[in-house]
Symmetry: D2
Subunit: 323 residues, 4 copies
């Protein structure tokens, strides 16, 4: 092992830069050369490579987004695309690659490593925190705090006006942001794809819980299968309770950026170092994870089998505290 590549792929997540920095410096400390692959798999296909020295990753640990950029690539979904990518890696003398991203990115890495002689080690980075085998994915905690900070502000207005706000947060198939964000903000109702019975909670809240004219409420909604779920719920609530003053806030992309939290930086740093260690140990097709505070290695084909069991206790707690 002499030269490794590193890239970010899929949606950007705060802490990706901390991971890029750690991978680069850990590799250099181990006498490896490092190449940054820009714009994800698309940049790999196009050979959009830059050498990374220690100084190049100085002063980026606190920045949101990714200095290596990211992109979606349809071309990489084809064998021809992956072949082009492999030839580019060959040409650049890259022996192994650290991929920072989510399940789509790891699936791509797995496929390519089965077709061509190239090793990938993954670092989980997605604000959804929905990977199997790791307690943390980079960016989730920052996004969670961005949600909480935004809802704290919305609460000021909700209370001042005696209004109900339906707040939609990210999470296509995973309600973790909505659930923990809702608990942290003292939301009156939390609607997540994992628990359909929460809709009864909404009904209960609207029917019984909202009698006093001054009472305000926050209803947290995970975007679920499609964004805009909050708008539909608002419509329904307005139809059934025309007397209520109901507003919608779709938090959207403010959840994705921003300077990473302390933990997101520390975990990204630890996982970046562990990814280089794994490559030096001749590992391949594994994701670095953190389980009970310790670094673990999870095979790609396990990690990508999305498994987002929700802690049911949290839902019980939420119901109890809002009686």
């Amino acid at each position: 092992l002499q030269k490794i590549g590193v890239f970010t792929s899929g949606g950007d997540a705060p802490g990706m830069n901390a991971a890029i920095r750690a991978v680069t410096r850990a590799a250099i400390a181990n006498k490896l050369k490092v190449v940054g692959i820009r714009r994800g798999y698309q940049g790999m296909i196009e050979g959009d490579f830059i050498p990374l020295r220690s100084a190049d990753v100085s002063g980026i640990i606190q920045l949101g987004g990714t200095v290596l950029r990211t992109a979606r690539s349809n071309e990489f979904r084809t064998f021809e695309g992956r072949q082009k990518a492999w030839l580019q890696l060959q040409k650049a003398g890259i022996d192994a690659v650290v991929v920072i991203g989510g399940d789509g990115s790891f699936t791509g890495a797995l496929t390519m490593s089965q077709e061509f002689n190239i090793s990938f080690v993954g670092i989980p980075a997605t604000i959804d925190n929905d990977m199997y085998g790791t307690d943390y994915t980079i960016g989730y905690e920052t996004a969670l705090n961005s949600v909480v900070c935004a809802v704290d502000k919305i609460r000021d207005t909700a209370v001042s006006h005696g209004r109900i706000f339906i707040v939609e947060v990210m999470g296509r198939e995973a309600g973790l942001l909505a659930l923990n964000g809702g608990i942290a903000c003292g939301a009156e109702v939390i609607l997540i794809p994992e628990s359909k019975e929460q809709h009864d909670e909404l009904k209960r809240f609207l029917d019984k819980g909202y009698r006093h004219k001054e009472r305000s409420g926050i209803i947290m909604v995970a975007e679920g299968d499609e964004p805009g779920g909050a708008l539909k719920i608002a419509e329904q609530v307005r139809r059934e309770h025309p007397d209520l003053d109901v507003r919608v806030s779709i938090l959207g992309h403010i959840q994705r950026g921003g300077s990473p939290t302390a933990n997101d930086r520390v975990n990204a740093t630890r996982m970046g170092v562990a990814a280089v260690d794994a490559l030096l140990d001749d590992q391949k097709s594994i994701m670095i994870g953190i389980d009970d505070g310790k670094i673990v290695q999870v095979p790609f084909n396990k990690a990508v089998k999305l498994n987002h069991s929700i802690d049911g206790d949290l839902l019980d707690i939420q119901r109890m505290l809002n009686i």
Copy 2:
């Protein structure tokens, strides 16, 4: 003058609590009694009053929203409603009232003071900063910084993905938040109701300025006559430039809450003290303002004539810096 009332009205704005605190303590320092009127004109009609002592306004200077709540009141728009309100003030022994709000609130105060024997002095509080005769309205600066903070985060994602984000900020008839927020964030295009020619800027940016595949962009849009303007613009852009990756972010109510900035607190404090001074000076139907750093008094009927001239130089600057 022995007892004054104070209330907040219209949309909540950060810094209203600092104004309530200053009014209360300045009045007490001048041997006046103070009554808090809850939920705006509606609370006035219902006699929803609470006595305010110095300790009651302790620890609120840094809080968003309004501890006196606010509400819309259709009943107050009728003579009967205003009569009820006046009788409640009479019954409570309230001689004069400080109203903290925007032009709708001042118009109501003016009407009532012409029909009944009661004095109002106003403190401008609205995140739109669209009152005539004052350089500051309470809440505007905080909202502006919330916009900037949110767009800084969105920029992380825009740059990482090479995307164009159309960001919609508050401002029905006034584009000040969009204009200054756009300058502060280095937005590529700023669309405001006061300058229709800005749409040529958008066209110019899309046609010429966006050739490089990596370039990202922020387009700031004031919500204008109706919210959702950003969605329409996005539709149009996608139709004309199907190759671009365009996203929409409607900032919504996160612009309204939050802990007030230093200036919003200081200005609210100064205006609160000046409002009590004005009542002690037997003034009525005037708004306290700040002009060139100094406290001024502006008659209600001038202040409410919305006059939101935009500094054309800022638009020129924005165009120049994005060439």
Copy 3:
């Protein structure tokens, strides 16, 4: 069990209010009455009690500090003091108490419960995160992020001027804030009481690492046995390297306050509910903890045996990334 007390004790920590809220509402949901004991053990001795209803803990989940106040009590260190406290609890009909604090607070509870017929269950809240048996103590994560946010600002000046900043953070006997804060900020050197060999790192950094005239550096120092350690280190550095531009920043009490992070709120909520559950289960003299994401119960006499092993891997990582 019919009526429980709840109080905060020792240094305040962000998230204490979230715990008070959860204890109160979980107790009420279980048909218990709740009494807030103000100003810690001193207030217990003085009978400074207030009834807590659900509405009394509304709107406090996001506030720093503690609405029940806290205090040190020398009187409670005497048998007579504890007897007075017990009589006050008896008089108020309080059957059991939830104590929110650190090891000193739990030691006091343990002593009192051995002398008198009263049960205590503890919730760990201290920004040092130095309790045995729990991965989290309430307030630590918020303090850590306050450190990181402050050092990010200091870094701006350090880089602009090519200066070395010695930043002192809290942590009398525990260097966790300095260690994780240092990793998260990319500190060049981290000095903690748990690892004396880190001083060689400082020497190495100053001798070899700081040759370039533009290079700046952050040296993180845990306050150790006494505050002001940073000043002594600065003196020594200036003596040995008179050419360097060295500044000191003692972060002090800005680390302690502020709105709690999402995790601090969620964990405080979970532990508050678990504390009430434990009392209902007739548990006594235990601390609620979180281990590997799950609620655990730790006997007081184990928890208070301060055990703050530092993750040595983090120090290795820090050294590697700064070569």
Copy 4:
């Protein structure tokens, strides 16, 4: 005029980067070439120059510190030093220079322009806001909000413990940060060099105002002639009132860095554009200022005559609101 230089000098201030960006892009828009002079006058002497294109100042508007670095230069205080600097500018073909800094920086520019054939235009950037002829200096507002944010946190602890905190903020000869920060945080006492009678306020507060055992207090202190003033005041207070729990917090360098506020960015942008306009108009030895919202030009020899009159009304307000 074909090529201009731009540099930052003296203490760094948030918003300097926004000014660098505006100067660079406004110059390019006017067909000028731009050279960045690194590390202030010292870099000018050493010829530490870099060309600045539009892309070089992309993505810096939101960053604290200064990308051009800054430094103190003893050599520049000598004629020989300034001659070297002038020769470097000659060699690089620089016709005129924009200097971003405070009064020391402008004094240096004035001296050099009187000795050699070179024009300077200044942009005021200092967190003290103590320049004559301008309502704003870049960085002051950001520093003020950093102070307020820090004191809000300290207040959490002060209230929770019933403590008095003496908080020292920057401001060698100017108490503006302490005064406005104190008003914004509801400080109980504000001590500034401009008003010696404030010490009577301290005595009054300690003697009369602090009777209740639960009452907490914030005493804001401008560092005055020397840092550490807060420590001396604390000593004195402890001697005279040994019963009080008094703590000191010296905010230090966290006041200097951080992402600039919206106004600091907008004002820096406006002044940067105006500085280039002034050079194109053949102006020299003037500082750009903002007076009553409008761009003004102030001769260097007026601007540097420090004139920091404090708004006495604010002190009156503070006294009134804390009775």
